[in-house]
């Protein structure tokens, strides 16, 4: 078999060598607890503060506006539950507003708020994979405590109009959160330019380790912690800090930001090359969200009518090509994508969906090979006569 090709960068990425090197001293030599008074503690604390500052700078934020988290899921939960639980008491705002295409972390946290008594509001989507701003506007009333809209959709790669949505939310006194896990390093993110109040990012999507992330919290945003304990991170996130991961995350964030424009151009090129090659050979392939006004460069989600994605992913993997379907449940089996359903894709097409996500491990040659393997598998699946079944 030729070298395996990883096309699942939206799922996770390898830790970058620079990140690994930056973290290395903090596993053993500089192992201190940042809360300790002695030299070991000071050393760790300095590294932590510097890391936080560098992350802040990369987001257009101040250091005290950054909370270190375990990743996107924690950030999403902290944003929605932390704000709603505070504001339902202090401001009498009991609604949570979000979209049906969010990551399960946002949908799950919103659902949890609903279980605890929140008014759950889900705005509509347009078929192109973008939020229907009219319904967002209509639902964004003064009863809403927090609104959450993901910047880049993790399944189909569509970019939401965060500038306008955040501004609208602000005009109604709504705290606005955006899950920017897939957006960081792909779109320009600057807290001084876009009026979001909260923003979550995850380390492992940008070359830092799994289990670390950061959350931007604009000064003055009402938010109670999820965890209770010590005074670390101003009490917003108690627990001994993962110093090495913060140092690694800071490095990854800086690299991703510095390389953004070049990488976006490169990834868009790969994606366009792939889509053209595939459509040339499989003209009826449907690329979800392709008509959105803005798309992230690294995600393409394709359905080939009549081909089931489960079989296709197996066949691709056995040829050394790793892609994914929309969403996977814990057992590793597939369930129909809630994102595709929300943008009006029927069961048959959504059952055929394959997400290809490009990144650091890809170049033109592997894109060409994948397009060719994928289209030949499609031909085979479609050419399979019933007689083959019991040959």
């Amino acid at each position: 078999m030729a070298d395996p090709i990883y096309l699942d960068h939206a799922a996770t990425t390898p830790v970058r060598a620079e990140v690994l090197a930056a973290m290395a001293p903090y596993w053993d030599g500089r192992f201190g607890n940042p809360s300790s008074v002695h030299r070991w503690g000071r050393e760790a604390r300095t590294a932590l503060d510097e890391g936080r500052e560098r992350i802040a700078r990369s987001l257009g934020a101040d250091s005290d506006e950054i909370v270190i988290t375990s990743g996107g899921t924690e950030g999403d939960n902290l944003a929605i539950l932390g704000v709603w639980r505070t504001r339902r008491k202090s401001d009498n705002r009991n609604a949570v507003l979000t979209t049906p295409v969010e990551h399960k972390a946002v949908l799950g946290a919103t659902h949890q708020a609903a279980i605890e008594g929140a008014d759950e509001r889900i705005c509509r989507m347009l078929p192109n994979g973008v939020v229907d701003e009219a319904t967002f506007d209509a639902l964004a009333t003064t009863e809403v405590a927090v609104a959450s809209v993901m910047w880049v959709n993790n399944e189909i790669g569509t970019i939401q109009p965060i500038d306008r949505l955040a501004a609208l939310a602000r005009s109604r006194g709504i705290v606005f959160h955006t899950d920017a896990v897939q957006a960081f390093g792909k779109v320009e993110i600057d807290a001084t330019k876009t009026p979001f109040d909260l923003l979550s990012i995850s380390g492992h999507k940008i070359g830092a380790p799994k289990g670390c992330g950061a959350m931007y919290i604009r000064r003055g945003t009402p938010l109670e912690p999820l965890f209770h304990g010590g005074s670390q991170d101003r009490g917003r996130r108690p627990g001994t800090e993962n110093v090495a991961a913060v140092v690694g995350l800071a490095r990854a964030v800086e690299l991703a930001k510095a390389e953004r424009e070049e990488e976006v151009a490169r990834l868009s090129g790969l994606r366009n090359r792939f889509e053209s090659a595939l459509l040339a050979r499989v003209p009826d392939a449907v690329i979800h969200g392709r008509n959105a006004p803005m798309r992230a460069p690294h995600i393409t989600n394709i359905s080939v009518p009549g081909v089931d994605s489960e079989s296709m992913l197996m066949a691709l993997d056995l040829r050394g090509i790793g892609c994914s379907a929309g969403s996977a449940c814990q057992s590793g089996s597939m369930s129909p994508s809630h994102v595709l359903e929300a943008i009006g894709v029927g069961r048959e097409l959504s059952g055929a969906a394959i997400r290809v996500s490009f990144g650091c491990l890809n170049d033109d040659a592997c894109v060409d090979r994948v397009a060719s393997v994928l289209s030949s598998l499609v031909d085979k699946a479609r050419g399979a006569s019933p007689a083959m079944t019991a040959a």
Binding site: D308, E310, S311, M312, L313, M314, A315, D317, L318, Q330, S331, G332, S333, M334, S335, A381, A384, M388, T389, A390, A391
Partner: protein, 366 residues
Amino acid sequence: MKERVLVAMSGGVDSSVAAAMLVEEGYDVVGATMKLFCHGEDLPDRPCCSLDSVNDARRICQQIGVPHYVLNLESAFGRDVVDDFVAEYARGRTPIPCVRCNTFTKFRDLLHKADAIDARWVATGHYARVVDGELHRGANRDKDQSYFLWGIERAVLGRMLLPIGDRSKSETRATAHRLGLELIAEKAESQDICFVPDGDHTKIIRERLGADAPSLSPGPFMLADGRVVGNHDGHARFTIGQRRGVPGGFAVPMYVVDIRPADRAVVLGPRDALLGSGVIAREMNWLVDAPQVGRQVEVQIRHRSAPATAEIVRLAGDEIELALQQPVAAIAPGQSLVVYDGDRVLGGGIIEASRRARPGLPVLAA
């Protein structure tokens, strides 16, 4: 390397050993665990289908160096197996979902997945054998599972591998140890129906048909002469030959001898009334060329019963009637009738009715 084989892996010892043996024999093995039924998120571990079982199968595959996939066959399984299970109980019958799972899920739907990955073969951990294109009993009679396999399409036999069919359970466990599969070598066997993990099959009937389903609603216990001798709380709780839950106070032990869904009646009778001298089955599927009327064969009307000698007295379309040489007790509609010639499985079908050995005599209450 030999041809590719897709192995259905439950995470248990049988299918794990089957996969490992095929690796040893040089096949290009691909493991797959079928997700058939969702128990909900917080059910504790079950022998089959649960998350832990999937994880066990994945770990075994990692250990033996083959890829593993989880296949979501929930909707097809729900339609082909669970819906039928519920409908059969509603009709007063006693279905065997494993038969339909083998027929439709493992050896049809899974075969389609095998096609998609160019796998020449499909393998399972069943205790049965394929010999010269025919299905045979497992070599070890105690574990023989051929009774559950009669429904597969005949042509599928040419693509089936049953690697552990010539051994006993203890040999399978010994092989697991020899191959270092300690994770699952002593794993408890699943006895239950996978979607009825606690043994209470009425739960799924209630879920699908509602708590007020006629088969779960009160009805009379009757004797053959129509006398009502008590009440039960749903005929779906009963099967032909059952004693549990039957009222006492009779001169002789009483059994369920008939279920009449039209009037929700569970008919009771003495042991004699359970005896059948003939059996009628439908949906017959032949795994060899269909035999002729008059042919003497062996039949099994339930798993683990001794084969009974019988003569084919009628064959019409997919229906068969057999005369039993000796009466057989508790022939239950919905169970499988499997026709054997020694170890060879000739075919099978679903029991529709039995011919009573003698008319039920009135039984007097003590």
